[in-house]
């Protein structure tokens, strides 16, 4: 998922010892499954919010991969974000089916509304599988259908601007 917002987020602070230990535990627990790298990265994002640059050598060591291998995978997939998440996240579908129902307008309004906000991320996604009830999107991870600028405003009432 690509982000619209106030430009690239500042690089996260160096990871602390505790984080490295958590990442090691995750990697060691999943080391035994076939093709463990994606499951490990998913678990790191789920528990620690994002993949820190300093996580890469830890994972590489546990899984007996090169750092380049791990870095290559982290950067290939949209899900493996490398910066801490904002407080709120709006992901709006821009696939054809949602576009046919006016998704572009909703997306433009959202991107514009939160373009300067450090607290809200607006991301585009391509298909959430809710193509007959579009425009679709997720708001803080919850799937919604039949979105419009008005409905989005109602669902995000009280959020920082």
């Amino acid at each position: 998922m690509r982000q619209r917002g106030p430009g690239p987020a500042p690089a996260p602070a160096p990871a602390d010892q505790g984080r490295a230990a958590s990442v090691r535990v995750i990697a060691e627990e999943l080391r035994g499954v076939r093709g463990p790298l994606l499951p490990v990265l998913h678990e790191v994002v789920a528990t620690l919010g994002f993949v820190h640059e300093d996580d890469v050598p830890v994972i590489a060591e546990v899984l007996n991969l090169s750092r380049a291998d791990v870095h290559g995978v982290v950067t290939f997939y949209h899900d493996f974000r490398r910066t801490p998440p904002a407080d709120h996240r709006v992901s709006l579908c821009r696939g054809e089916a949602c576009q046919a129902r006016g998704a572009e307008q909703t997306y433009a309004v959202a991107a514009d509304r939160w373009s300067a906000s450090p607290d809200v991320e607006v991301a585009e996604v391509f298909c959430l599988g809710n193509c007959a009830l579009g425009p679709a999107g997720t708001i803080d991870g919850i799937l919604h259908g039949r979105l419009s600028p008005e409905r989005l405003a109602g669902l995000t009432d009280g959020w920082p601007r």
Partner: protein, 513 residues
């Protein structure tokens, strides 16, 4: 005590089904959760059990609950009558989707009661050759888009020798306008589990993986629960239904890369690498996951298998038309009045789907175009609504059936903008391995921008020559269908809607001057 069914399908949840279920539970009603019937324009479609059958109420909100329970909605338009008798459902032929929306998704007893596991039981009493022969006789072709005969693929894996073989289900349903894989997994996951177990028995595989998109968290949860239940009841594990044959099944979650719906890219991803496509040969049936013989099939392909084994390949082959046998699960989406799942025999016309089932556009404006087969499929005008849904007929028309998704557009659509979007999407989602796709798509965006901005006809014509050249290069030179098919929406948009590109409208014969 009243029993009320409220769908737990993600589409239904996206328009408030959970809130309705909570309100019903608070009112002391027994609430059961089914998948969705696929009549998505009616969601949340709540069904009340009555002696006549389950009576449906459309678009129920939490505020409607008191009136619903008091019977006050029965005389209103919200009441759609007995759902099983609804004309929209009655006109379909539900085979793969027979149980979706009817049962609780992870109720194994209900699954058995409605014919589940008969296919697997029969398969275990046949030799692997006979199981593959049934699938071959059924004429089943891959539902992911390529339409490759499933029986031939299975036979290749069966006759290959290796220490371990795999069955992989491609559930990376990334095409916009498609959601049948998701709805099957959320509504009747045991059908997929059974189909994969049959495949494993047929080819001698002991391990299976379902590669499921991270955009489908509800499907991931439901499938994982179904797999746990299947293990607990001996459907999976060291002795499948007591046969002594082992089959282990696991779910792997994708990570937001469209390209991982391409089978070799999916295998790379399953192995823990960047989802870059592999050159073929070697084909995955011989050197697939971790270099071992691997069946890779789409969700709907595998979900067709239990019925084929239960009732015999001939019964399935009796449905459909030409070389497209059986049923296809079509998905009506976009700007359509009645969107949802239409499972029908191959051969139904595009117009029957879009106007008959779909009821035209949701906006009430005329249909301008439909895109069939996802983002890489062709845009077709209403003049082509006579086309039968059949792999060969679509190929001959410069289009594809793909995964059966149909996205409807009204007359406000700008075909040139959508042609540009097709190239832009390819820029964003190309894996980058081959040049025609990686670079061609960027050049395609630029050329289309110049065409759309062209003030004089000379510039436009020159750029159109370049676009055509580029499309040929991408089609012929790309490693996989991503780059190879991106020109399809572009060329079809140009062919059928030249006026959007600043060219004269097509003549009555549909030929561009």
């Amino acid at each position: 005590m009243t029993t009320v069914w409220v769908p737990c399908d993600a589409a239904s949840l996206s328009v408030g089904a959970d809130e309705v279920a909570d309100r019903l539970t608070a009112a002391g009603v027994t609430v059961r959760r089914n998948g969705s019937r696929g009549m998505l324009w009616l969601e949340p479609l709540v069904e009340v059990e009555t002696p006549r059958g389950r009576v449906g109420y459309a678009g129920v909100s939490p505020a409607d609950v008191p009136a619903l329970l008091a019977g006050a909605l029965a005389p209103t338009e919200q009441c759609v009558g007995v759902v099983d008798e609804h004309p929209w459902l009655a006109a379909q032929h539900r085979v793969s989707f027979a149980r979706v929306g009817v049962i609780e998704p992870t109720d194994l007893a209900a699954y058995r009661e409605l014919g589940g596991l008969r296919g697997l039981e029969r398969a275990l009493n046949l030799s692997p050759e006979q199981v593959v022969a049934e699938v071959t006789a059924s004429g089943l072709r891959g539902r992911g888009g390529a339409g490759f005969p499933a029986g031939i693929k299975w036979e290749t894996v069966r006759t290959a020798s290796a220490d371990v073989k795999f069955v992989c289900c491609n559930a990376d349903e990334g095409d916009s306008g498609t959601f049948a894989d998701r709805m099957l997994i959320e509504g009747d996951p045991f059908t997929l589990v059974e189909g994969m177990a049959i495949s494993a028995v047929a080819v001698g595989a002991t391990e299976g993986y379902v590669y499921l998109r991270s955009e489908y968290p509800h499907a991931v949860r439901t499938l994982r629960r179904a797999i746990d239940i299947a293990y607990a009841h001996g459907v999976l594990g060291e002795s499948v239904l007591g046969s002594g044959r082992r089959f282990d099944l696991d779910v792997r979650v994708g990570a937001g890369a469209y390209i991982c719906g391409e089978e070799t890219s999916m295998l790379e991803s399953l192995e823990g690498r960047r989802g870059e496509v592999r050159a073929k040969p070697p084909i995955p049936a011989l050197e697939g996951l971790f270099g071992r013989p691997t069946v890779v099939n789409n969700v709907l392909t595998l979900a067709s298998v239990p019925m084929i084994l239960a009732d015999g390949g001939e019964a399935y082959a009796a449905l459909g038309t030409g070389r497209s046998r059986g049923t296809q699960v079509f998905q009506l989406a976009g700007n359509v009045a009645r969107g949802g799942i239409v499972e029908a025999d191959f051969g139904i016309s595009l117009g029957e789907l879009v106007e008959g089932f779909g009821g035209g556009t949701a906006s009430g404006r005329p249909v301008k175009a439909v895109q069939v087969g996802g983002p890489l499929g062709a845009y077709l005008p209403p003049e082509r609504f006579d086309l039968p849904l059949d792999y060969e007929a679509f190929t001959d028309a410069g289009a594809m059936v793909g995964h059966g998704g149909v996205v409807v557009w009204d007359d406000t659509m700008d075909a040139a903008r959508m042609a540009r979007f097709a190239m832009e999407f390819c820029v964003k989602e190309s894996c980058g391995k081959c040049t025609p796709c990686r670079i061609g798509s960027t050049r395609g965006v630029e050329v289309l921008d110049r065409i759309r901005a062209a003030q004089d006809d000379g510039v436009r014509r020159t750029q159109l020559v370049l676009l055509e050249d580029l499309c040929t290069t991408m089609t012929k030179g790309s490693l996989c269908a991503m780059g190879g098919l991106t020109p399809m929406p572009v060329r079809s948009a140009l062919e059928h809607f030249p006026e959007d590109f600043g060219l004269p409208a097509p003549t009555t014969e549909g030929v561009r001057p």
